[in-house]
Symmetry: C2
Subunit: 271 residues, 2 copies
């Protein structure tokens, strides 16, 4: 039995179509602030294409590599104060001393859930923007009608960008959630108990076929480059085994960008 490939593109296109429709006659800008690390630039460039399709402008603010915290804070504040701003992103990851610059993102513009107020709302299950990548995982599951409630979800990775927020979001969708990481003993056995297995490690081919149950759905949030080729955390041996798996590329990535722009639309509507 071969696994169904859960492509992100049809899900992303549906979200973008709806966003474009609702944005007609409106305009708004997504500000990004950062140093312009190559991976960040690649992300914002991919985002810019979908953004233009929906009628959003992008304004990327780059600081010199020797810029200090206060300088970045100033740029974030300026972006938040801009009349046309509907969303503000700060490059992630940044060196630890820059951690607090996200504190200045206005909650109403915090379309990727970076500021403490947004994080606290996510944690408490209150209204607010949710981060794009874990939201994309849940949107993909919903799009392909894979039930979450009462299911066992195993998340490999405990980072602030995916593992932790996704755990909280899957919990509020009534999954029973296990979070694994580098110190987990017997990772394969624990992963094999999952109805929904999500890997967000950035370790190529970490998830092998003995990690997955026959009926499982596998969501691959990893992104690494091996010999210049994009690949996820899931080994190709898994494709012959589980029920369904997201490919890399063309899996979670396009949905992440679409969800972020949908958050932009929400920001515009609540202005």
């Amino acid at each position: 039995m071969s696994a169904e490939l859960l492509y992100g593109t049809p899900c992303a296109e549906e979200i973008l179509r709806e966003t474009e429709k609702e944005m007609r006659g409106k305009s708004a800008t997504l500000y990004t602030v950062g140093f312009g690390d190559p991976q960040w630039k690649q992300y914002t460039q991919a985002l810019a294409k979908s953004a233009a399709q929906c009628g959003f402008a992008m304004n990327n603010v780059y600081l010199d590599s020797d810029a200090e915290v206060e300088a970045m804070r100033e740029k974030v504040r300026k972006a938040c104060a801009a009349k046309d701003a509907a969303g503000v992103l700060v490059e992630q990851p940044l060196p630890a001393r820059f951690a607090d610059v996200v504190n200045d993102i206005d909650k109403s513009l915090d379309v990727d859930c970076l500021s403490p107020l947004s994080v606290a709302a996510l944690y408490r299950g209150e209204n607010g923007f949710r981060p794009a990548t874990p939201s994309a995982v849940i949107r993909l599951l919903d799009f392909y009608r894979i039930p979450i409630r009462g299911k066992r979800a195993v998340i490999v990775g405990r980072g602030n960008a995916v593992g932790k927020p996704l755990a909280l979001m899957m919990l509020s969708r009534d999954a029973t959630v296990t979070v694994c990481h580098t110190k987990t003993v017997d990772l394969a056995q624990i992963c094999s108990t999952a109805d929904i297995l999500v890997s967000a490690c950035g370790v190529p081919a970490l998830i092998k076929s003995d990690f997955v149950a026959d009926g499982a759905t596998v969501i691959d949030v990893g992104l690494s480059f091996v010999n210049g080729k994009a690949c996820g955390d899931v080994d190709t041996s898994v494709y012959g085994k589980c029920r369904a798996v997201t490919p890399v590329p063309k899996g979670v990535g396009p949905v992440t960008r679409a969800v972020l722009l949908e958050n932009m639309l929400k920001a515009v509507k609540s202005k």
Copy 2:
């Protein structure tokens, strides 16, 4: 085989002794703000005893039952502005419309980790106060030299007061963490995979002997009253089976109060 009973009292006394020693010659006040629900009053009264032992005063501010959000916000602000304040607590739980009053607790006085800035620091694993009850669970495990790193922790309950913060804190201590709740299917089977099983539901006798592995440690954070008698989530049948279990009362409760006062000491020292 009978389980070792992990009493909280010796652990709490150790913390209180150390706190008392370090507080000698100093003074500070813990402010509480709330409506004075009977359970909250009982908690603050128990706290007051240990507080006095350590040289802390308590100032309990009660609002009329018809008081509105702005009135409570004002009391919280006033408590934070008081010269003698080293900590400010807001009664939990409160009706949903009061959720935001904790936003006004100054981070340096937020000894039970209620405000968004504290919650975000907990979430991101940054410095800051951690909530007393989940901290007490970890302190008890450390006190009795029960290893956490690489172990499987199963937490029953996904509330904001215990389940969620404890999951994040156990993750940062390198446990592999599973969170179960009312929608979990086959709770007994999942619980039986735990090295450390924590129950924080408030459902008397929910955790039966078939929920626990022989070598497991069981931490009972539940507190209910049956025929006027305090009891936890763990059925007495468990006491004959697992390696160790915390009793209720005299388990996690006294450690929670001690940890809160230790947080007060930290607040005093960083003034």
